[in-house]
Amino acid sequence: MSEKVKLLMGNEAVGQGLIEAGCQIAAAYPGTPSTEILQTVIDSRDRAIEPLHVEWSINEKIAFEVALAGSYSGKRSVAVMKQVGLNVAADPFMRTAYIGVKGGMLTIVADDPGPHSSQNEQDTRLFCLQGRVPVIDPASPAEAKVLIPAAFELSEKYELNIVLRPTTRICHSRQNVTLGEPLKLGRSADFQRDPTRWAATPAFLPALHRKLNANLEKIAQEPDWQPRLTPSDNSQPRTALVASGIVFSNLVDLLDELGLTGKIDLYQVLMPYPLNPSFSETLKRDYDRVLVLEETYPVIELQLAHPGAVGKQTGHVPREGELLPDILHQVLADFLNLDQPVALPDERRGQRPSLCPGCPHRAAFYSIKKCFPQGIFPSDIGCYTLGMNLGAVNTVHCMGACISQGAGFYQAYAQDGDFPTVVVTIGDSTFFHAGIPALVNAVVQQARIIVVILDNATTAMTGGQPVPHMGIAAGGKPTKSIAIEQLVKASGVEFLETCDPYDNEQFEKLLQQADDYIRSPEGGVAVLISRHGCIMDPSVRKSQEATLIQINDKCIGCRKCTNAFECPALIFDEQNKVALIDQDRCIGCGTCIPVCPVDAIIKEKNG
């Protein structure tokens, strides 16, 4: 057994691949399923032979631009994000296709077919087709790692940004992965000024666009990136399967289990865009029937334009969701006239996710809903989306949208006369990411809304990345801290309060004052910072009082605590019709105590 073979998650494999390829500038904003890529670069930065700047940027656009200038300086760089992060970075991303790069630059965009933890299942490969950016679709963690140095070389050969697109099932898979020695490239920052390129005005763009198109034609023919054929014994003549990414791997296992390995020509498409026109010609010449299998949009299928191709466009393959092995089985059985697999039982969902026991967001949401039962509650992207379980989240859209949506709700109602109390909830990391321009806009447009900034001092959903107001950068490096209060005040907000939501009486009092303020003649945006550390942070747990919480015999079984407060540590005993505390899960915070209408939830101090 080689010591260099490790059990690595796909994201860890990609992170190690970046270090080994001599990447020197790495920037990302966290987002499932991409987060562990940059985290691995941070945790393993000692492996890098040359200087390596790693940063959790404020958002994906900024991460992209930081990496871009790193590349302009001749160094290898990477920007990492999830698929919807690319929407945020779209502006610099699209122009980079024309302008190009210098040192190798990769944009790693993790897609989330399903979706598992995203607001949509958009396909970055289609985004790349629109943006004219080459995109690589790895089929396993080990393959993703192997392709990274090759992708950097391709990027440097054509001076173009290259996208690597793993999907959730690659990112969050583990596999035996071989570690290698990091490269020493010996590059010094050397930005070659060329305004006709780096500052290209419209006059220069047609030529740059022409050059891009010419390069894409050449890239499509690069020998190392051609579709890979696993030939067959021709028992299915003039028939082929074409797949990419994890779907290819699912297909390989399925063919094996059905005894069809080597019985039908099978192509793996490594680079779905740009697709080599001669591949399309080969398919048209050699095959009458082609099944195209890919996640999530028909990117290969669209480019093939094969008269005998079936896939998502033709309705033979589901157009949404993952192509899980069971679905693939049905599709393949249809295509090859095999026996259909036994119908699957209706999918059962199991336990829904909920905020952790002791989560300060729960206490905040409960108070918000209690104070404004008729309120409108725009919220945002993060753990606190789960506030919908408490009825305190009415909309969730995209990073930072809640403040502008809140302002929009106000404008729509106010022009009819009275307006409901709009309480916006936004996490601290999301506030920095995209909330600040929205807050300035809401103030300037004189929206009368309450903005509750749920400050738990971390980026909780993705596992606790640092936030700008904590004075800590990637890897624990001390840095300047940017206080939320100062930003809020500088945005022109005149009502600003801070409160720990565990103190429900004070929190509710401040919510009422905020409501009075927004309805007063001089009123505008009111901001309440709900401040309590994330309960997943062990130091937060250690620093707060833990008491034994119990439910006494006064419980009348009204279910208010289990329904309206929805803490996983509160369970309902259906036999005895009373609420119970699951002591394995209860952290003893006592935030549920005020919820009980008959004071049956009690605490006993146990030090």
């Binding site: 998650m9 969050h172 994890i246 969902r349 336990q351 996710p353 909920s354 993705t462």
Partner: protein, 166 residues
């Protein structure tokens, strides 16, 4: 040798750690392994599923009716994930109540050791003792030593041993 294993539970129960221990044994033995895990939103207390495929496979995902072994840390997940098991697949379940599959009150045992989350390793020991998994108890102990945080190694091994005796 090929084996397909599912690990089912809810976020926070240590499904990921249990998955890693089993996969690490394969890596230590030099055989191919692929796992798939649940991260992100669902991890917040919701139903989570890991799949582990030992041997020559390309994909980490398991089709319905293909898993050899199911390790369930949350017995309410049984109707959700049972369909992944082969007809003769073996089920090991952490539960207080009696019912389908081989059961052990892993959470109760773990609570006595001082940490209910260690029910994951109690259940692993329980399954290893019944020679259901491809791995031996020595191999599991080695993997636990490699993966557990230093100060919890002994407590982790204790949970595993209690499972072996369970």
């Amino acid at each position: 040798m090929k084996q397909q294993i599912i690990v089912s539970g809810i976020g926070g129960q240590g499904v990921l750690f249990l998955t890693r221990v089993i996969a690490q044994v394969a890596v230590n033995r030099g055989i191919p392994v692929l796992t798939s895990e649940t991260h992100g939103m669902a991890q917040r207390g919701g139903t989570v599923l890991s799949t582990i495929k030992i041997g020559n496979f390309a994909s980490p995902l398991i089709r319905a009716g293909q898993a050899d072994i199911g390790l369930l840390l949350w017995d309410a997940n049984l109707p959700v994930h049972k369909g992944l098991l082969k007809e003769n697949g073996k089920l090991f379940i952490s539960a207080e109540q009696t019912g389908e599959g081989e059961r052990i009150d892993a959470a109760g045992i773990a609570r006595l050791i001082g940490n209910p989350v260690l029910s994951n390793l109690v259940l692993l020991g329980f399954a290893v003792k019944r020679q259901a998994l491809f791995c031996t108890s020595e191999e599991c102990e080695k993997a636990i030593r490699q993966l557990a945080p230093q100060k919890f190694v002994e407590q982790n091994l204790e949970a595993f041993k209690q499972g072996l005796n369970g």
